[in-house]
Symmetry: C2
Subunit: 406 residues, 2 copies
């Protein structure tokens, strides 16, 4: 007997027929003697519909009311899923965020789960009842509904699995696992049986949208074994686990890419102490996350060019912020480029192996691809290149690191 | 300064534009220095959509999950209305049934409000905050969401007005008040300035669907002054008040009709003690409410014919129930008739005046309309007639009792 949390995304509960299919998957676990908690998202499209209602009433909306409204998407699916389970003879009931409660902090619209009161629900689990718990929502310290931000249902599921000390947290989605790279770019992409939390985090942070970043962080912190798998097949998926569980660690586990990047270059900035703080302070104050940063060596005139990348969506706001500080920062020009992509090579194996970055640079050079910016971490090397080379770069690197399927 | 509860039906909050119009009506009361609680229904069509989702998943659904799902309709409108109010500078927030809480009994799907904790919300009112409270929902003793049954939002508003000792409960709807009869039947129908609780109850019970019956009962019990008015105009509506408040009471206040009736006649039932109990007991056990009952005098063979009316929707079920008891009841035949209508003359004035019923019978006779069944109460005379005479009867009675507009 095992204790399992199953999470189903919006496409998996998109209509009544799909909800019935989910109920059958839950039943299979129950029939196998397992204790099950299920965490569904809102029906596909529902959250967008609700968000549009909110923004059509008020541009600068009160996040507390936003949460009250948008959380109804999951409230509907937990009720429907509980009914579908009862309909096939499974004892089940819905537990809303405020009923359990799932306590969060008070940051409405982007709340973080702080604790989950499991006493009552654990009793129910042990009695054989299936818990149907809405993703994405909790209860704030103000006794109002909070939501966790888009994609928060993954986090709900992992947090619940951690609180209930579940043996596994199965994340059902519309892909059947984590791949060495995007299969739409190369048919040689391979599904990974296992991947470490750290690698999954790096994959997520560079655009592989299989799992929400915070859910992976949480799983890593609490040692929750996460499985990513398809709600359309019965194939096993990819296990996201601790490094110790992976016996034969490969050098590189995957190649990720992101086209949601933009690049800003400030031309001829005075090269003096405090200039970086003067530039990035106002951006941070406006909630703009800067990613890669490169500062060139000084020109003769004691000025330097400063280049950094940021999410495409923040570009206009970043330019406006910097233009507003032009007098203070004293730069000659701002140049923005949206036609860039970030390509990352990821693998915990590179910690103990030299030459991983070098192979990346060589491979790209052989294809005539110019590297604009480089950044590295312990288990990742990322480069910024012109967007038009994205597919070529990903395919070349996939082959160069021996990831191609036979 | 007054304390006012405003209730808006589904068509009044059908879309974002209508919600903004509601916000302006609330603002007008706030600007006039009043304390305001607003109770919106779900957006028109939304409750039906949610009920269809429920029934498409499960025919014999768990009413607790039904409540969790269907209550989201009002949860969305309170959020949107709070946002629309904030957007025009009014301090407002939503208060869900479980947050206040509005305590109900545990009859999911048809719960009754038992008490409302007003301590916190009254403080907010006194500080000038507008309360936005969902109609139709409460919190059951099992800590789960309950709903009050269709049309329950009127009841929510009146219960809130009673708990808050509000000076008035304004029910905004798509008609502009209570009329002497249905204006679609005669253009001579007049809007009433005032009507008593008792008359309103009788009007509601015979099909004038302006206010939900339970809300009128509750208003009467707690002396809540209810105003029915249109959300499309600025005209005053109809006040539903205590008899004492109506100085010049008219003999008859209105003519109501209902086509939702059916008639059953049991032919040649043994005329013996206990036979009525044997017939109506099983019907009551099946939740079928019988309305008018007539038992004819005995035939020679010591048998009688028994006629009664019931809601059209229950007809098939009633016949099946009675057929199932045929051996026991020993009747010769069951005859059912759907082509009947109930016409009622209503007025508290008839308590102290003779001849009201007589005028009804004479008027109908003059038009050649046969009366099938008669029933009377202190303030109402109802007759069952063939459905095709409905409009003719209503118009004739409206004129006969001097109700026609000039």
């Amino acid at each position: 007997m095992a204790r399992i949390v199953q999470k189903f995304g919006g496409t998996s509960v998109a209509n009544v027929e799909r909800i019935r299919a989910v109920a059958l998957r839950v039943k299979a676990e129950v029939d196998a003697g397992n204790q099950v908690a299920v965490v569904p998202s809102a029906m596909a499209g529902e959250t967008n519909r609700l968000v549009e209602l909110v923004t059509s009433v008020s541009k600068l909306y009160d996040a507390r009311e936003y949460d009250t409204i948008v959380s109804t998407g999951e409230q509907v699916t937990v009720g429907l899923l509980a009914l579908a389970l009862q309909d096939i003879g499974i004892q089940a009931r819905s537990w809303l965020g405020w009923q359990i409660p799932i306590h969060t902090n008070g940051v409405h619209g982007k709340a973080r789960i702080e604790s989950i009161d499991i006493e009552e629900i654990e009793k129910r689990l042990e009695r054989g009842e299936v818990l149907v718990v809405p993703g994405f929502q909790g209860l704030g310290p103000d006794n109002r509904i909070t939501t966790l931000g888009r994609g928060g249902s993954d986090t709900s599921a992992v947090a619940l699995a951690a609180a209930l000390k579940a043996d596994r947290c199965d994340i059902y989605t519309d892909v059947d696992g984590v791949y060495t790279t995007d299969p739409r770019i190369t048919p040689k992409a391979r599904k990974l049986d296992k991947i470490t939390y750290e690698e999954m985090l790096e994959m997520a942070s560079v655009g592989a949208k299989v799992l929400q970043t915070r859910s992976v962080e949480l799983a890593m912190k609490h040692g929750v074994r996460v499985q990513v798998l398809s709600s359309y097949t019965d194939e096993p998926g990819t296990l996201v686990v601790d490094e110790d569980e992976i016996v034969e660690q490969e050098l590189v586990s995957g190649i990720a890419y992101s086209r949601d990047e933009a690049k800003i270059t400030l031309v001829s900035v005075p090269d003096q102490p405090g200039i970086a703080a003067a530039i990035f302070g106002p951006l941070a104050d406006n909630g703009i996350n800067v990613d890669m940063i490169v500062q060139n060596i000084s020109h003769d005139n004691n000025a330097t060019d400063l280049t950094f990348t940021l999410p495409m969506a923040d570009l206009e706001r970043a330019i406006a912020t910097l233009e507003g500080k032009r007098g203070e920062l004293n730069f000659a020009d701002i140049r923005a480029d949206k036609n860039v992509a970030k390509i990352s090579v990821i693998g915990v194996g590179m910690r103990s192996h030299a030459g991983v970055a070098q192979r990346m640079f060589t491979t790209l050079a052989e294809k005539g691809i110019n590297i604009q910016v480089i950044s590295t971490s312990e288990i990742k090397v990322s480069v910024l290149i012109a967007e038009e080379y994205t597919e070529l770069a990903v395919r070349a690197l996939h082959t160069a690191y021996g990831l191609d399927a036979d």
